[in-house]
Amino acid sequence: MYSKDGENYFIVDAHIALWDARRENQRNIHGKQFIDCFYDYHRNLSPDAEQWTYEEFLYQGGERLMKDLFEDGYVDHAIFQPAYLGAFYDNGFAQVEEAYGLAAANPGKLTYNHCYDPRDGEAGLDRLRADHEKMGFKGVKLYTAEWHGESRGYKLSDPWSYRYFEECRKLGIKNIHIHKGPTVRPLDRDAFDVADVDHAASDFTDLNFVVEHVGLPRLEDFCWIATQEPNVHGGLAVAMPFMHTRPRYFAQIIGELIYWIGEDRIQFSSDYAIWTPRWLIERFVDFQIPEDMTEYAPLTTAQKKKILGLNAAKMYDIPVPAELQLPDADETKTGPRQPERADLAGVR
């Protein structure tokens, strides 16, 4: 929990990883390129005092993770969102077994989400059933640009994706986290397009679709589908640290999200270990929309509390002390929310 100025914030970090990108685990040059890309994100968007050395960044281990999140980071509960990346790392990028073990040892603090690849076909479905029986997860993380033999990407609207969603439905896996990457077949189209999420969300209205990075670099496409589909949510991984280097851009991201999808479907995440939660939480609680941006209303304390934890807690049935809970906003199920508060014309 984080407390400031007499207000208490229940914190859920909805996107964390336990990865191993050390040289001995890199399968090829792409393993190095991938972690270098993450490290540049880390260096580019972090305050100087929060920057890690390259060696620290390659691997953290469970002990450090627990310290960064729960001792230093104010986090009440965190959710693993593993990216397997078997084509780049011998033992995978996300350390699935280790993360599951850590969550099993700390059930009040950690939730383990799993991952699968619909291109594994029938055999993958069998494995998903077996994994679910063993680990009992409620959510999965899908990275659509995962490399898989000849294929370097898939869509959520592919027939096999649908077979897997049907299986998720049967097993009670209700939260589908999506991370869009640069490759998808065919390469003719924009790989970051979220139209396939729209299809899947319309056809599986009983599943929640959480688009990570709030669709960045296609915020506009994400907002447009999310405003129409009540079961589409936005995860703030990667968006959060813009508070430091690009506060005006961050204000616009949050302002647009509040307008298009409302305050009840946005989830905070540090994207650990790219960033650590402590500074992000402190700054977000202090954050406000710049005064000259008349197109957005100021962020309220209640909105910050929902984003920092209450929204994800609700999706994952994480118990929240009664005095910290807040009711849902009285908003439409689809279409722009609170247009009177976030509108150029409305401020006059």
Binding site: G181, T183, D188, E220, E291, D343
Partner: protein, 272 residues
């Protein structure tokens, strides 16, 4: 200025300079960010030497990350080769994209003039034309929003629902208007002074009740492009030390931390 160059050893003649190459590359755009690769700092090096019967040009490109989209990376590399090859007296072009996850594939494809489908084989279906059009439309939408928001902010009497009657002649002269005219031209939209500003990519206008939504959607597109453009520039500077010197300032979406434009950051007070 170009001058006739002669390599004394081979007596090969050519009259193209590094400056000519750079100017030619000014016309190659990052389709997603809608800016020339020369402004973005994506040109890592260029060299002009004596080649067979003319000049041999070698250009290296660099991108903000190894995992930038390979389709965009290919477009920039192949467009670069095309504009340099078109210069007189250039007889050989070596165009290489450095440090990308698909560098080997793209460089081999560009060297062999294999085209998009010949380069990406089973991963390609038809062409990248639709991809280009998608981002031309977004660039137009963003340019249109910049102009209309500029007008709205400057005129307190204007209301959103009336923005559908604004014509090009109502826009103040300046870089926003010039940028919009360029984007309209790219889409084949009319550039006559009496043309309505708020139109979709096919030139259709909006009824008054649909205007606030059209403007809001356009705003989210503009925010997205500006945000991506600055993030990509920043990542390039982080990845390649000193590359900031090769980037030109981008006023759209600039922030105090960008140094070249000092904007005040005053936050709102909450009045419950």
């Amino acid at each position: 200025m170009t001058a006739l160059h002669v390599d004394p050893a081979t007596e090969t003649r050519w009259d193209v300079t590094e400056e000519d190459i750079r100017r030619a590359l000014d016309s190659v755009f990052d389709p997603e960010l809608d800016e020339p690769i020369t402004d973005l700092g994506f040109v890592r090096s260029l060299k002009v030497q004596a080649g067979v019967d003319g000049a041999r040009v070698e250009v290296h490109l660099r991108l903000p990350t190894s995992f930038c989209s390979p389709n965009f990376a290919y477009l920039m590399a192949s467009d670069s080769k095309d504009v340099i090859s078109a210069l007189p007296t250039v007889t050989q072009v070596v165009l290489e994209l450095d440090d990308h996850h698909d560098s080997d594939l793209i460089n081999a494809g560009v060297a062999a003039d294999a085209g998009y489908r010949g380069t990406f084989l089973h991963e390609a279906e038809d062409s990248l034309d639709e991809l280009r059009w998608t981002f031309r439309r977004k660039a137009h939408t963003a340019a249109m929003e910049r102009c209309l928001t500029e007008l709205l902010r400057a005129n307190a009497s204007l209301v959103e629902t009336e923005m559908g009657t604004i014509r090009l002649w109502d826009l103040p002269a300046g870089r926003n208007k010039e940028a919009l005219l360029r984007r309209r031209s790219a889409l084949g939209l009319p550039e006559a002074a009496d043309s309505i500003v708020l139109v979709n990519h096919e030139g259709h206008t909006y009824p008054p009740d649909a205007i606030p939504m059209a403007l809001r959607r356009a705003r989210s597109t503009r925010i997205s492009i500006d945000g991506n453009a600055h993030f990509c520039r920043g990542l390039l500077r982080t990845r390649y030390e000193g590359s900031g010197a090769d980037q030109s300032a981008r006023p759209d979406g600039a922030e105090p931390a960008d140094h070249h434009e000092l904007l005040p950051l005053i936050v709102k007070e909450i009045h419950p």
